[in-house]
Amino acid sequence: MSVTILYFARLRETLGLAQEKIELPAHAASVAGLLDHLRARGEEWHTALAPTQSYRVAVNQDMADITTPVQDGDEVAIFPPVTGG
């Protein structure tokens, strides 16, 4: 299935990427599965998205957690804790 991923702020700079479209295997159809899939890309991804790092994930513009399902056509955003206001 096809998923759009957006990266923001410091995470966008660390990973050198603002947006991508990926094919996600059906067995990875959750935020946890998607993160595992991305971490497998190598050291930089493994470190930036380690569970001990502070970051947030939104699925279709709603705050999500690792159990949130990811479906074909979803927009997933990964970003540092927010600092507006």
Binding site: Q61, D62, V82, G84, G85
Partner: protein
């Protein structure tokens, strides 16, 4: 309910006047304005860039305001948040809440600010003498948001 994300500055009087126009049932308006400080975490700050996640920002802010409206007896709430390049002393955010009596307006206004700080997808990058740096989220903001989860 009105939520706006914009690069342009806003005028407090104009916004509050429009907000309460023709509504003589309003007895209280609590407002908060967040401003760019010239110093943060020990460094001089010469400017600020506010990035956001446009598709999510409006939805997140409307969700926060909807929660406040369900939780307190308020007539209306207004949120304006700026993005882009800002300088020290510039206005960043306005939250205003109108109600019959002051207690509800104060509480809902502070609630919206606390949730905005932890739930709305904005990120600040500061320009300092040591270069640009991303602002870290504050643990105190998480604590501030958590206290609204208590029953009352």
């Amino acid at each position: 309910m009105s939520v706006r994300v914009q690069e342009a500055d806003f005028d407090l009087s104009t916004e509050i006047k429009a907000f309460r126009a023709g509504r003589p049932e309003i007895g209280a308006v609590a407002a908060f304005v967040g401003l760019v400080r010239d110093v943060n975490v020990g460094s001089a700050v010469s400017g600020l860039t506010l990035e956001h996640y446009p598709a999510m920002t409006q939805k997140a802010l409307e969700g926060i305001v909807a929660q406040a409206t369900q939780r307190w007896e308020i007539f209306d709430a207004l949120v304006i948040h700026r993005v882009g390049h800002l300088q020290p002393m510039d206005q960043i955010v306005l939250v205003a809440v109108a109600s019959a009596h002051r207690s509800e307006a104060f509480q809902a206004c502070e609630f919206i600010m606390d949730y905005l700080k932890t739930q709305a997808p904005f990120w600040k990058q500061e320009q300092t003498p040591g270069g640009a740096r991303w602002v870290d989220a504050k643990a105190s903001d998480d604590v501030a948001a958590t206290r609204w989860e208590k029953p009352f």
